[in-house]
Point group: C2
């Protein structure tokens, strides 16, 4: 049950929240749009409004349960927050998103920010191109 996890971050354990959190955790492709969540729940017979999906996702984001990313093309996707930070490969052919982490890049970012007198609170690195599957 996700009930506890929700209360832990100060949110009432309501049906929509539980369903959405569950869906995010089980989603095969981690990165989903609000619309994706809405459609999936609707198809599963859950009667959750799109506005609620947006509200809940925003609350989850504020609570640190999910991250929101804005990829080129202007619309955003959400993913359950993982233990470790990571960056993304975005395939321009099939739209797939793959995750990766590179310690060298992570470290340099901090250094560069410091050099410029910038307090880094967050960062996002997206590599766009063609994934292995699409090249085949």
């Amino acid at each position: 049950m996700n009930d506890k996890e929700l209360r832990k971050v100060g949110l009432k354990a309501t049906t929509p929240r539980i369903k959405i959190l569950q869906f995010l955790a089980e989603a095969q492709h981690h990165h989903v749009s609000a619309e994706d969540v809405y459609k999936a729940l609707s198809e599963a017979g859950e009667d959750v409004g799109l506005a609620t999906v947006y509200r809940v996702l925003t609350q989850f984001q504020e609570a640190g349960l999910v991250e929101r990313h804005y990829f080129e093309s202007g619309h955003s996707v959400f993913e359950i927050k993982q233990d470790q930070h990571h960056d993304h490969f975005v395939c321009l052919k099939c739209g797939t998103v793959e995750e990766f982490v590179d310690p060298v890049i992570e470290a340099r970012q901090l250094d560069v920010a410091r050099e410029y007198g910038f307090d880094m609170t967050d960062h996002s690195l997206n590599i766009y191109g063609v994934c292995k599957a699409c090249k085949a």
Copy 2:
């Protein structure tokens, strides 16, 4: 005159296009939104419609004259394409965008992409935080 530059990329040298290109080239802060362009031209007495600004900016982007970036917060900015690629610091307080280049990061990105069997066509790295000026 920008006339030649426009024709070179296959676009008729019309007044709106010339004005917009000129504005982008002279803009003090390189990164401007479509709205910024529209307002600046209006204030300068140029009668260019917002729809035209969007159309022209998109054409410029396709022609490789400008780049479009989508920063977190969901709205995009345009900048005249520079000789060199660069990444961005985005100040969450004042919205300012600063540019930087780090060879170490650039090189690692290529390596990482290769390791994952990914053909990189483009990438974007944005560091979010508080800039020097806002900390003061």
